[in-house]
Symmetry: C2
Subunit: 360 residues, 2 copies
């Protein structure tokens, strides 16, 4: 598990590094909504009961937030549980996967011995999806499942709704399942007009998490959305009981109501992603890829990702060495986007390392 993901500050703390600024996982810098903290402090007794096995209140709240019905919602112990449940319930034999992508997709697919075909997001195309080639590939072959992350991790690229419409028509015509991981969609400008759920297709299953936007990776709350009640029922049948803990349940009920937190986050990310991108463009010996969300992929021209990660760690900052993503290599690192003060610290440290070493 150690090298698959960002966010493992524990390993470095065990090496004696304290107070690491974590730019390797992409978490909202505003921290946990105070509304939840207040509610949790008053409600420790929810932990002395088993959670509602049907999670009715939580599913109602999530349905309302997404403009769907509770029967379109399934909740999980983080989006990870939803991912593994979905893959185990559908047992796809052949899968088309956009890459580079999140490493857990492959682990989940491997658990059912699915054959994976990768559709590469090309460096020369700035990792944006080549729609025509993608549709062509889908039409020419038979897959049981298409899996894409939107916006995509680690590239930060977004597939727009018109393209998704085309993909939808194709999966419906060929009767293929489409799993869309929207873990980062709420960081996208006007995200509610861009989600796959707008396509209202029975072939589509959308995966979400409160992890990133509401800064609760340690609390574990994810969910799945679909208009396909048969698929949802399959997942429900395979699901372990009580997998969402009582505080995660409470978090869902309170956080999705916190309009102020949601609004300030939306304002912050639009401003800050622009700032980060512009500033990164001014650093020599690397390039930044335009992002639609709260992290940004960088290509290093002169240094190895591992070396840059190590030297950033010396300055107390953990960044994501992105070289183990499929189709990426030692030239790539990924940065989170956080608040202005931290971002400036990271930008300065990065410039020092990359520009100085690049000029030797």
């Amino acid at each position: 598990m150690l090298d698959l993901h960002g966010g493992n500050v524990y390993r470095y703390e065990r090496m004696g590094k304290d107070n690491i600024l974590d730019y390797s996982s992409n978490i909202n810098p505003f921290g946990i909504p105070q509304m939840f903290i207040d509610s949790a402090k008053e409600n420790f007794d929810v932990l002395t009961k088993y959670p509602d096995p049907d999670y009715l209140d939580l599913r109602n709240k999530i349905a309302e937030y997404n403009g769907v019905k509770p029967e379109n919602v399934i909740v999980g112990n983080g989006a990870t549980e939803i991912l593994f449940l979905y893959i185990r319930a559908l047992k796809p034999k052949k899968v088309l996967l956009l890459a580079p992508c999140f490493a857990e997709y492959k682990r989940a697919l491997d658990s059912v011995q699915a054959e994976i075909e990768y559709f590469p997001l090309e460096e020369e195309e700035d990792f944006r999806l080549n729609t025509n080639r993608f549709i062509e590939t889908m039409e020419r072959n038979h897959y049981d499942l298409i899996l894409l992350c939107n916006p995509n991790n680690p590239t930060g690229t977004l597939i727009d709704l018109e393209t998704l419409e085309r993909i939808k028509h194709c999966v419906e015509e060929k009767q293929v399942h489409l799993l869309m991981d929207e873990a980062f969609i709420e960081f996208v400008e006007k995200w509610t007009t861009k989600t796959g759920m707008l396509l209202q297709s029975k072939n589509i299953f959308v995966m979400r998490a409160l992890t990133k936007f509401f800064a609760i990776p340690g609390l574990r709350l994810g969910y799945g959305l679909s208009y396909n009640l048969d698929v949802l029922q399959k997942l429900q049948t395979a699901k372990e009981p009580w997998s969402v803990n009582g505080f995660a349940n409470l978090a869902g009920l309170t956080m999705l109501e916190d309009k102020e937190y949601i609004h300030k986050t939306e304002v912050w990310i639009q401003e800050e992603k622009e700032f980060m991108y512009q500033e990164l463009c001014n650093i020599s010996n690397m390039r930044a890829y335009k992002t639609e969300t709260n992290f940004i992929l960088l290509k290093l021209f002169t240094l190895h990702a591992r070396d840059v990660q190590e030297r950033m760690l010396e300055k107390g900052i953990l960044i994501r060495d992105a070289s183990n993503f499929k189709f990426l290599d030692h030239r790539f690192v990924r940065l989170a986007i956080k608040n202005r003060d931290s971002n400036i610290k990271v930008l300065r440290s990065l410039a020092e390392i990359i520009e100085e070493r690049g000029e030797i």
Copy 2:
């Protein structure tokens, strides 16, 4: 999911019943250890990080509590995750299962299409294991896995260490896996001298939870113990990352240190299970089975379990209709054991219902 388990007070609350006294799930009445509540209130920031994917500190603490090494420990989102992981990792084809037993065993085994053979705990033998017949059955047939719960839910019966020794020799000789669910063992008098881990066998895997003893069914923390590192590695490989949430992690670190809470619970249960049993023996038209743990099985002579459950609910008490346990029927209900005041209330209500109706 609705009818498989106790503890679903939500269903009755939705029917307008508030403040239900829950005797259907078997949770320590002392509630969550204060030591954890204090620590959690000070440490909400653990939720803003991903949990340590290796859970090193937690596994160290659990190892210390059980007198084993951290490499003998795997942690899960409740014992339920450990159960499903174990079954999916081992994929047993043929399984011998003591019954009546916890309903999730069958769900987990069904998920890998295992063939289940039930070994009945007989009513005429007060649901105690007939050791000779059990050993004979194991010797005569080939199983991939033997699954038993000790002490057993819902019968409250315990298999002693000598019998376990005999079972151990048999599973070792026949190279069979033995899964022991010890979810309730800490309520057993001098439990540390009675756990399956004392047998130090590579064929044995022990499953535990903090759920019941530390009153945190809503927080979700379970673990597996084994001397078989290959089996543990198989589970680790199949495991979803970060499945134990940050507060469950913190709970494990603090609660297992709370000697005072542990001691007062041990004193309470020994006294209270004796009291409950004696008092129940004084109620006519039913019998109570001797229990070694914190719940007690009752057989009704004149009324249906469903009717007694309904009439108890009218008095604000939820008990477990045990008729859907394998080999039990409409004559059986299960009661938790809680603090003296509540127990007296439950005993009185039960006597009113059973004795009155029985005499019509």
